[in-house]
Symmetry: C2
Subunit: 199 residues, 2 copies
């Protein structure tokens, strides 16, 4: 087994192709870092990993190892094959975006997962991409007793990872979330590493 390594600096995003059957690891390099993950079916512009369809398919709010995630056409797209982390992930919250930071009081430009996604897809020639709700690896949004959604720091330590297998030929986009206003990334956004596993 050989590995192709992709480093995603803090606050940035990267797109990479994963063939059906191929697996990849998303590694929280420095700890307490959220990785927003998107996946698009490679040969079409109309099908992508969909959190809202995956919630229905799984009958659950949060992903668990061993389960499959599906597209907006309800086809299996990624399987969550290993979880070497505390097991806390989110699939309820929209990616951060310029409007999110404006509402949080930021003036001027602030990097965001939505802009990272658009940039990474534009680099591949896919403009006007739909922005699906991502699966937010390592993100800790606990459901409180009154039905509120909490925002807690990611509980990951350096080197924690999840491993996913592609069930279709996909373009995956991972962004190292630039959130430094809320506690989500422990206050200090840091980097994410990707290992593409080639058997």
């Amino acid at each position: 087994m050989t590995h192709i390594h992709i480093h995603i600096p803090a606050r940035e995003g990267r797109a990479f192709a994963v063939a059906a059957g191929q697996s990849f690891r998303v590694i929280d390099a420095e700890g307490a870092q959220v990785a927003d993950l998107f996946a698009f079916v490679a040969d079409t512009t109309g099908e992508w990993l969909s959190a809202e369809h995956t919630r229905v398919a799984l009958g659950r709010l949060f992903p668990r190892v061993g389960e499959g995630w599906c597209t907006n056409l309800r086809r299996p797209i990624l399987t969550f094959i290993a979880d070497d982390s505390p097991g806390v992930h989110d699939m309820l919250c929209a990616a951060c975006s310029p409007s999110r930071y404006a509402l949080l009081g930021v003036r001027g430009h602030h990097a965001s997962c939505e802009e990272n996604l658009r940039g990474a897809m534009t680099d591949l020639g896919r403009r006007d991409v739909v922005v699906p709700q991502p699966v937010n690896l390592f993100e800790n949004n606990p459901i409180l007793p009154d039905g509120a959604l909490g925002i807690e720091p990611a509980p990951t330590r350096p080197g924690d990872s999840v491993t996913l297998r592609a069930e279709l030929d996909v373009i995956v986009v991972v962004t190292a979330c630039p959130q430094d206003i809320t506690a989500l990334c422990g206050g200090v956004p840091s980097s994410i590493d990707i290992e593409l596993l080639t058997t």
Copy 2:
């Protein structure tokens, strides 16, 4: 105050324009009926009511009366001004679609909220519409202690309603959910009425 009335037969959907400041009621005419609700900003194709952005804005999983819902650009789009129903609504689950019924074992065509949405928007000349995750009025998807999402019949009685106010000029689409395989609509899909309130 005058009313414009729109009847939505069982298993069908309708689109209607609502001006900023105008309110409308969504009425469960016969009881135990889910109404999938979508809203698109009228003068653009790129902005719509977004459940995933609304969850973040509210910090909650389910909508409550008095709160505002927002777009994918996080602008207020609808305000939930009255709830004359048991108060159970969903904003976690994708609209039913042909793939949902295929996976539930249906052979051949089955009406769906996604197709109802596409049809209603096509009638207005808006093809290739993005299918956002709807707010599912009266839909009862309780969160179970183990984190699973339940599917229970809508608890509404005939005449129960919610009232929403548009904060932008919008096209609203409401579909009387055709779900008759799960318990969601009590097994028998029925009709929805809309009252557009004109002051």
